[in-house]
Symmetry: C2
DNA sequence: TGACAAGGCACACATTTGTGTGGTATAGAT
DNA sequence: ATCTATACCACACAAATGTGTGCCTTGTCA
């Protein structure tokens, strides 16, 4: 017959060549765009589009990629091979550890973490300086991702604009009937001066 | 002449129509793939590819998008309109606030934060349970992003596999000449039993 | 009133891209 | 000996996609 069917038995395990193709696809999708068939061939030294298409068939059959028919650059990664997604392997029970390693529970999508379904103009980030929020686990150097003009409620951590035209990250509190700002560090007193809530803290990121 | 040049003066500010086109492009790039010209036209109700191309010209001229010539789906966002990038507007001086709002210092690339230049198989995430690391600003529910088999050094926070086949997040310490694990919470004693370092903590993410 | 920007359209054409058909060669398994 | 998987190539064809040329209407501004 012909070489259309590269591999129909070993469901899932890839040969070195097949892995090379998959890795190239992952790389390209991670960088910018899914490659075209011809781009894959060119990059990996295949002279025929048929060769590449055969590899794609295998990768699809083994569950590593998906394809949108008749769409240019229509290659997608399946969840198992997704780039830019970090597998959540388990839970760290920090006090009394208790979880088996290597059980993927799901994925964290890098983008979703920040933006979710938010409009792209509604989110920005601030780098935290100072230690007034250490009590809430927010340290100097952390990146605070803020959602603009949200429905900030009592006890939310917010970025607030003070009269002095400065921005600060504090917890919104209404213990006294009227809203004021509270640090999460006993060394810093509550702020009762005028302020405007710029946005609400939705994510904290710390790089080591 | 002809309608090729939609807008050559107002550098940068977009008309509502132009913004609609840009937003559609952002949405599509954010979702999966940059759209083709015809996909844009279809989605926004334009009957001519020329119309869309004219809009693209304007958006390029005004600096909101770039294009790769003769490449299908070759539309890219420029930094200012980038989706998935969070502008770092400033620094929060948490103790003594001190930063003017609305001065973009740069961008945080969602993907870079985690993966950087790492291979996609080297990184995974764990959800933190328990409070043994509160002293290091790591709280229950945080997502700990771990880089596998790294060069973990003294004082690094690592994910370690204990003899009990459980994983825990602790600080690597060698105060006693030999490595052991330390919690960042006085309630938890150091761990001197056998362990294997699985990986090193590179990022902490907390969603509110 | 005439230039010009914004906001459109039609359609031809070239290129890119995906798909289909048919090959070749090697190696291991039955 | 035959079958199958891996690993390739060549080429034709069609569909998707990008590009080029020309034209129209409306509103504003000088």
């Amino acid at each position: 017959m012909c070489g259309i069917d590269k591999n129909m038995h070993n469901s899932q395990y890839l040969t070195p060549q097949q892995e090379k193709v998959l890795n190239f696809i992952r790389q390209r999708i991670g960088e910018r765009l899914p490659p075209t068939i011809r781009e894959i061939g060119e990059a990996l030294g295949f002279k025929s589009t048929g060769t590449v298409r055969d590899y794609l068939k295998v990768l699809i059959q083994k569950g590593w990629v998906k394809k949108m028919d008749n769409k240019s650059r229509g290659i997608e990664l399946t969840e198992r091979s997704a780039f830019g997604k970090i597998p959540i392997i388990g839970t760290i029970m920090a006090g009394k550890p208790n979880l088996a390693y290597e059980e993927i529970q799901g994925y964290v999508d890098a983008d979703d973490l920040f933006l979710g379904r938010l409009g792209f103009n509604d989110v920005f980030a601030l780098r935290v300086k100072g230690d007034s929020m250490v009590g809430a686990g927010i340290l100097e150097g952390d990146i605070a991702v803020i959602k603009k003009r949200p429905d900030a409620a009592n006890n939310d951590i917010v970025a607030a604009l003070l009269d002095s035209n400065e921005v600060t990250l504090k917890r919104l509190s209404s213990r006294s009937g009227k809203f004021h700002l509270e640090a999460a560090n006993p060394d810093y007193p509550p702020i009762f001066e005028e302020f405007k809530v710029i946005g609400k803290l939705i994510t904290v990121i710390r790089k080591y």
